[in-house]
Amino acid sequence: MSHQVGLTFTAAVAPGREESLRAMLRHLDLDPAHNDVLPFAELPDVHFARFLVLPEGTAGFGATTLVLTVDADGPAGPRVRDLAEEVGAGIDAVFGHCAGYPADPTSRQRRSWLAAHQENSEVFYIHAVGRTLTQILDEARLRSAVVGFVDAEHARLAALDDRGVRDAIRAFVSETPGLAPALEPPAAPGLLFRVREKSHKLAVPALLVVGLPIVVPALLLWAVAFRVRELREPVPLQVLDPDRLRALSDREDFEVMNQFTSIAPIRPGPLLRITSQLTLWIGNYTARHVFTRGSLSGLTTVHFARFKRFGPRRHLLFTSYYDGSLESYNNDFVDQVAWVLNVVFGQQEGYPRTRWMVLDGARDERGFKAFIRGHQIETQVWYTAYPDLAAVTLDQNARLRAGLGDDLDGEELRAWLELI
């Protein structure tokens, strides 16, 4: 079992090939999971993937640019190998539109080309760190079977006490072929990964403490300068083009989950560049060590989300997979976690005015919603390995499975039974 990795492959589209590339992506988009070119479902460890075509000039790119993002169970090496081997022909067909892609590559050439065009993201939020695709699919199967069992046997189960119901469910699981492994806990991420994360978790605060004499005055200076900028900078309300808005929303709300992509410049000047760097560090640290167990500061609808500085002009590329409509996603931000958004999006062009970085900002509902749609770009193709599973459902499934093995009693047992 393993931790998750967020991979981004970027390549310039060869002159004259853009139309053909777009046509091919439209073909993939008809059935991202099982199309005959690049069937994402054949990649056994990939949760999500997407293709973007960025017009020349986006983020300072000198040519039309193709981007592939893959959110998968790590480590990265084997996932690149899977792309090169499991769906190699599809990779050739798509990236064959890019400048410098080898003609008729061997699997090894393909791998090294992909690896050479791969970059990591600065911030990588994972709803539940360490929960692999295999675990997700196994637990979904378990939940479905247990729900079906309780539906069918309700009359008998209703006459039992809490413990009796639980024993009946356990017996059903252990007797049903294919479900028995759920009685064991899922494997934890590898030791190396855990050691690395633990060291990072401790090392960062330790370094900050050591650096206090420098850090504190620097932060004070920064805070004053930032506050002055907040007060002085004009924030124009973004005007949205209805046709573009409609083109974006026409591709939304087919499944339980949606995807979102935005690219936005940081506002000019060194202060915001430094601030952006600072908040990416904070974002990275909190995503890795704080918001790791099913909740982004109380928000339970985001599966994966990433920030990446991108392109010659270092714009911020944001990609996410979330449950529900963009309207509900935005409402959650405005109503519940405005401060998180203020910190991580606040340096981008057009962001509503913040106060001391964390206050106001996204609380300006109109300004924030216009900002979000304003920088959103179309995603040409996106794939999810579990279109029907909401993030909260994944959490319930995991608790159902965990509780099967634990010895529960009293309130804990009742809470577990309420999951079903």
Partner: protein, 483 residues
């Protein structure tokens, strides 16, 4: 300063109190005309804009405004985006209206948000669908009795059709008392506009900008409002726009009106409840049947909330509306989590921090003023259980008012009503409004030791028509009629 106050100060932009300019507001916003028992809705198409504007100019003086209870009859008027276009509103002005309104209820995307699939798909609608005639204008007509209504309708329709408008449909309503056709008391829970001085618990007092353009909403902001160039309002009918000296505010004192004709299959609803609750010998169990039906609704037939009276109907609680779900019943053992009224108005039960004031405040961003009325003859339970009726015999002309269609009406529909995972449910649909999308196949009743899930719940409500309208203020009406 108490911590809660401090939090409030940091969290919520302070709201300037705003006096509502009620005499410029169509009265339907302020009241449901409960004493006017007759109502009909006239749907019109604009065929010739110049006489249609004259018709409107003559109508403006008769439109019922303000808070005073009208005597005899009442008249209100609203327009779709196509209707405003046909009356001469230019595209750049239309672009200032809500995108959902301009796009219309029947676009593929909005259809997904509203669950209008299968038998409820717009292609099968009686009005407002893509194949039918354009619905441009809605005239809402009310009168004390059915007889008076007939005269009122006849006069209004002949005046309209003689003046550049064509009748698309006349939607009748039926006075069936305080209930709806399934047999439950309806319309109990309504938000109250802050500043209107009506008595209500804090739970239901909502910022006026949620229901009227031009006033602060729950976020302390004036909702987005359409404007016209000051030069186009030579008669200076409209108030100045807030942030732009060269524009004038066409939206102020207006609101959006969502209308849907919802056909109710009363027989299918009760037959399902009956079949699920039969005794071991196969006979019907009326008490159990009513109990399951009440669980699907969330209130008993009298209106008494299950949350306060889980085991039996208590008519003395019929109008009881001051309760939270989390505070009494977080697990859903009294009122199931997926019950219709709990889905459509979850009160204090959703994040952030269920049970807290913050949860209630966030929920107030998703309220609707409901103004609909039933249509079609009532049916008694015995007939409903035995006889199958074909076609659209009865239902509800659902009407809701709000200033943000996306955050209010569509959010409630998509994030709560149509969401199979609402509040952590596994795969359920709204027991009244669901069933057309193929998602969500059950209804769960939370209980000890383990929940009971009713599966293959039937679709009992089917959308048969609908459109997004704009209900302008009086000055805007005058402007639209050409001054």
């Amino acid at each position: 300063m108490a911590r809660a106050d401090l939090r409030q100060l940091l969290r919520w932009p302070r709201r300037p109190s705003a006096r509502i300019d009620v005499d410029d507001v169509q009265a339907l916003v302020m009241q449901g005309y409960g004493r006017l028992r007759g109502a009909a809705y006239l749907l019109l198409e604009v065929t010739d804009p110049i006489p249609a504007r004259s018709w409107l100019a003559a109508l403006v003086g008769e439109v019922t405004l303000g808070e005073r209870r009208p005597v005899g009859t009442a008249t209100n008027v609203a327009f779709t985006a196509t209707g405003l276009g046909r009356l001469g509103v230019t595209d750049d002005v239309l672009a200032g209206f809500a995108p959902e309104y301009v796009e219309g209820m029947t676009s593929a995307h909005r259809t997904r948000l509203l669950g209008d699939a299968g038998a409820a798909a717009p292609s099968a609608w009686a009005w407002g669908g893509p194949q039918g005639p354009s619905v441009d204008v809605l005239v809402l007509l009310y009168a004390t009795t059915a007889e008076e209504l007939t005269g009122h309708v006849q006069e209004q329709r002949s005046r309209a059709t003689a003046s550049g408008l064509r009748e698309v449909a006349l939607l009748d309503t039926e006075d069936i008392g305080l209930g709806e056709h399934f047999g439950f008391r309806d319309g109990i829970s309504q938000p109250v506009l802050a500043g209107t001085g009506r008595p209500s618990g804090d739970l239901h007092v909502v910022a006026p900008g949620e229901f009227l353009l031009g006033y602060p909403n729950q976020h302390g902001q004036a909702p987005s409002s359409p404007t016209v160039a000051a030069d186009d309002d030579t008669a200076r009918l409209l108030p100045p726009a807030k942030d732009d000296r060269d524009r004038r505010d066409l939206g102020r004192n207006g609101t959006y009106l969502v209308m849907r004709t919802l056909s109710q299959d009363v027989g299918a609803f009760w037959r399902y409840a009956d079949a699920q609750t039969r005794r071991a010998d196969g006979s019907s169990d009326p008490a159990a049947r009513t109990s399951l039906a009440a669980r699907m609704v969330g209130r008993w037939p009298s209106g008494a909330p299950l949350t306060l009276s889980p085991d039996r109907d208590r008519p003395e609680l019929a109008e009881q509306n001051d309760f939270g779900y989390h505070e009494h019943d977080a697990e859903g053992f009294a009122c199931p989590i997926g019950a219709h009224v709990r889905r459509t108005h979850p009160r204090d039960s959703l994040p952030p921090r269920p049970g807290s004031d913050t949860s209630v405040e966030v929920g107030k961003g998703h309220r609707l003023l409901r103004r609909g009325r039933p249509y079609g003859p009532p049916v008694d339970l015995g007939d409903a259980l035995t006889a199958e009726e074909a076609g659209d015999v009865r239902g509800l002309h659902f009407i809701a008012l709000c200033t943000d269609i996306a955050r209010q009406f569509e959010f409630i529909s998509h994030t709560w009503v149509q969401n199979p995972h609402f509040a952590g449910l596994y795969d359920d649909s709204d027991p009244l409004l669901g069933g057309h999308t193929g998602e969500g196949s059950g209804f769960t009743v939370q209980q000890r030791p383990v929940r009971r899930r009713y599966v293959e719940t039937p679709a009992v409500v089917t959308t048969r028509g609908g459109a997004y309208f704009f209900l302008p203020g009086a000055r805007a009406l005058r402007y639209l009629s050409g001054g």
